[in-house]
């Protein structure tokens, strides 16, 4: 009984404007979210792969779609999801073999992941939106 009472008296803070996720938590939850996004988009990408390989007309229509701005935007977002999942995944693999597992090192590697994503996305955005080609 006493334990229950003490539990109830514990202070709670659910004010979302004062709760800040630490950087490692941000990288971790984005890894999960990007994984779900990539899973959900998979049928569409397979459809595009099928269409582009099936015939010259199919290839031309996929190529034309890739020049439309909504599709460009979608590809940009998917590239962001992919590269975050990729870099953060390598970080998680490193931690699985007990590399960089102290709090300080984990925070550092989280920042490295976010910077790598940012740098990669700059080159991706440049290729898609400025150069207008998908070959980086």
């Amino acid at each position: 009984m006493i334990v229950k009472k003490q539990k109830k008296q514990r202070p709670k803070n659910l004010d979302l404007f004062t709760i800040r996720l630490p950087v490692n938590a941000v990288v971790s939850i984005l890894h999960r979210a990007s994984g779900v996004v990539l899973f959900l988009i998979q049928p569409l990408l397979l459809w595009a792969l099928y269409l582009s390989l099936s015939s010259a007309q199919g290839y031309a229509s996929v190529a034309a779609q890739c020049q439309q701005w909504p599709v460009k935007l979608l590809i940009t977002v998917l590239a962001g999801a992919f590269f975050h999942h990729f870099y953060a995944g390598i970080r998680h693999l490193a931690m699985d073999v007990h590399w960089m597992t102290t709090l300080q090192k984990a925070r550092f590697s989280s920042r490295v992941v976010l910077w790598l994503v940012a740098v990669t996305m700059v080159s991706v955005i440049w290729a898609i939106w400025v150069k207008g080609e998908y070959v980086v």
Binding site: G35, F39, L46, W47, Y50, S55, Y59, A60, I90
Partner: protein, 117 residues
């Protein structure tokens, strides 16, 4: 101890290791695929088809997709277990995910080996 963790006594450990090995395998294979795409940089339908013509390329691509589907299936399974506490809804969602993964696997097989290049 390490090998005991991989026996049927601890099925979670095997799933965990499978997901990690798939991730590692995908990272390596993806690098190889990416290098060849950059090397040939196809600009037309014929060049794009020629990229997929060698059997070893299609086998490598198939291996990549097998790893990806396994990895994704295990990942989404964890996500559903974490965020959908209601068992009935979770089972329905898991069922939809299973169908989707099987459908994707069939689509990959058809794309890589069902069409004539």
């Amino acid at each position: 101890m390490l090998f005991e963790l991989l026996t049927a006594k601890y099925p979670g450990m095997r799933r965990w290791l499978t997901q990690r090995l798939c991730a590692l395998s995908m990272a390596v294979v993806l690098l190889l695929l990416w290098l060849r795409v950059m090397w040939l940089s196809p600009q037309s339908f014929n060049e794009w088809q020629a990229l997929f013509a060698p059997w070893w390329w299609r086998l490598l691509t198939l291996w990549f997709f097998v790893c990806m589907l396994l990895h994704a299936w295990l990942g989404v399974r964890d996500v559903l277990r974490d965020y959908v506490p209601h068992l009935g809804s979770r089972n329905v969602l898991q069922w939809l995910v299973n169908i989707s993964v099987c459908g994707n696997a069939l689509a990959v097989m058809w794309i890589l080996f069902g069409m004539d290049f």
